[in-house]
């Protein structure tokens, strides 16, 4: 355990001296929090002057059951909230990908992997250290920015709309599915960076895990996908299953001999 801690602290000491990583971990959450708030403020402002002219414009079938019993303006806001809550599923994927992709390949580039692997650290300890080092900032940043989002929303929207934000479905998504997605991203990035020699390529390849999330966001924004409890639970289950497979594969693919000699 002591060695895992050493690796985690070492990873943070090193990785947070990298500007790209700092940007991803610190600024992305801020931007992703500010964006929905600005949108909410904008839609809130519209309410008074345009409520009549806008009325009826979002067709009922577009929002499905989302808006039953809501005024149309509230409905637009709930819809916006839902849309942006999806962004908080993006954060736990993007941040760890940046950190983890850097972590194995970066060591290879600096040739620090060989002395590291020569110490009595086990593969599991090493990977656990690197994974946790990527996981914690991702989850913390996601939760912090979600907290910030909820807090600012409280000032902007009315109580009815606000209650939608604290819907158990979203809490489940942010606090359970988010971390599960982080594990997916971390193990994918470790698998890829064990095989690739350039951190930029590793990061780009790892970023592929972001694609399904973005597709879901797009699907949701055009009304093709309505995220409901059932969907979130299915998503969580599938991610958990995928994680088990990916973690297993990442540990088994990380073979010292290969990693040291297959330096292409």
């Amino acid at each position: 355990m002591r060695k895992v801690k050493t690796i985690i602290l070492k990873e943070w000491a090193e990785v947070f001296k990298n500007r790209l990583v700092l940007f991803t971990v610190a600024f992305m959450p801020l931007i992703l929090t500010a964006l929905p708030i600005i949108t909410l403020v904008a839609t809130g402002g519209l309410e008074d002057e345009m409520s009549t002219s806008v009325s009826g414009s979002p067709p009922d079938e577009f929002f499905g059951e989302l808006c039953t019993g809501l005024s149309e303006m509230d409905c637009v806001q709930v819809y916006t909230l839902n849309l942006f809550a999806m962004m908080f599923m993006l954060l736990p994927v993007v941040i760890p990908v940046t950190i983890a992709a850097y972590s194995v390949v970066g060591e290879k580039m600096a040739r620090s992997l060989e002395p590291l692997l020569a110490t009595p650290i086990t593969t599991l300890e090493l990977l656990a250290g690197k994974a946790v080092a990527a996981f914690v900032p991702a989850v913390v940043a996601t939760w912090l920015s979600f907290g910030l989002y909820v807090l600012s929303a409280w000032f902007v929207v009315n109580e009815t709309v606000f209650s939608y934000l604290l819907d158990p479905m979203w809490l489940l998504a942010i606090f359970v599915v988010g971390p599960l997605l982080t594990i997916t991203a971390v193990s994918t990035a470790i698998i890829i960076s064990s095989r690739v020699t350039d951190p930029r390529i590793a990061e780009q390849l790892s970023a592929v895990v972001v694609v399904p999330i973005i597709m879901m966001m797009l699907g949701q924004s055009v009304g093709y996908i309505i995220l409901d409890k059932q969907m979130i639970v299915i998503l969580g289950g599938a991610t958990a299953l995928l994680d088990v497979i990916l973690v297993y594969v990442s540990v088994h693919l990380f073979q010292r001999d290969n990693i040291l000699t297959k330096w292409k």
Partner: protein, 303 residues
């Protein structure tokens, strides 16, 4: 402390290390001498459990490689070919990380001990990215010693260092030797091996010779006498070979090459023997091999 038996490693079907069999005793400084691409680093990597052999076995401190790798890693120190420091972190931080990974009990004390010993204490807080090559190498040497390993693998410890830094590192290795550590020293520097090692292996994919430096030096610095005869060099060789003082006799290009323990004393006798047997001597000379000649000859064998 180190035994290898037919240790072989192939890359894509081509042997980088071929059937290496060695036995290295406790407290011995063993020079592993070979040119670029000889397979020195590959050998060290196998012996430290970093990569696995294609065939053959080896034991380090009685732990078998590929089986007890974690014990081997815990007990041996390695100076890797490139220092591989975390360049954004300070020298102190770098060593502290490794002391923790090596399960060192008194981390701060050990880190300070070796930083001081290698003259890096005053610069401990600087990022290693700003260090010169020599300082990095010294830091890497410090890193390999934090857990006080009794077996130490040094992969070209003075490569790329200026004469002063090289000397410092060599003196330091001598000190380690004085502490009774077993040292496996890879180098392509003959003089370094000669100065530091108890035994020297000349190696290029396969083992060419293993000798004490004195014996190797004899071979390295050994003087030979060349007789340019008018004719019948082969018969002269047969004649001289019978003399007890003659260690070896060869004919190359009609010239007779004779090696003796002490040419100054033996040469007059050889000349007399040849003259008495009616050989006509045109010219007698001395063949003095340079260090490099012999080394190149040794590694050139069987190529």
């Amino acid at each position: 402390m180190i035994q290898t038996e037919n240790l072989t490693r192939e890359f894509d079907g081509k042997a980088a290390v071929d059937r290496l069999s060695l036995e290295i005793g406790k407290g011995e400084v063993f020079g592993f001498l070979g040119p670029n691409g000889a397979g020195k680093t590959t050998t060290v990597r196998m012996l430290t459990g970093l990569i696995s052999p294609t065939r053959g076995t080896a034991r380090v401190m009685n732990y078998e490689i590929g089986v007890d790798d974690i014990h081997i890693r815990r007990n041996v120190g390695i100076l890797t070919e490139s220092p591989g420091m975390y360049d954004r972190l300070s020298a102190l931080r770098n060593l502290t990380i490794y002391a923790e990974l090596y399960e060192v009990e008194h981390v701060e004390r050990q880190v300070e001990k070796y930083l001081r010993m290698l003259g890096l204490w005053d610069r401990r807080l600087e990022a290693t990215g700003t260090f010169s090559k020599g300082m990095r190498q010294k830091l890497a040497l410090a890193r390999s010693l934090l857990h006080e390993p009794s077996v130490l693998f040094l992969d070209e410890p003075t490569a790329g260092l200026d004469p002063e830094a090289s000397k410092l590192v060599r003196d330091f290795i001598r000190e380690l030797q004085g502490e009774g550590r077993t040292i496996f020293l890879c180098t392509h520097n003959l003089e370094e091996a000669d100065k530091l090692c108890d035994r020297i292996a000349v190696f290029k994919t396969t083992l060419r010779v293993v000798e004490k430096p004195s014996a190797l030096r004899q071979q390295l610095y050994g003087r030979q006498t060349v007789f340019h005869l008018v004719e019948r060099a082969d018969q002269a060789r047969v004649l001289l070979e019978q003399l007890p003082a003659v260690k070896s006799a060869k004919v190359i290009d009609e010239r007779l090459l004779i090696a003796t323990e002490d040419p100054d004393r033996e040469n007059p006798k050889l000349i007399r023997a040849l003259v008495e047997a009616d050989f006509e001597i045109r010219f007698v000379g001395e063949l003095r091999h340079s260090l490099e000649d012999i080394y190149l000859q040794l590694i050139g064998q069987a190529d």
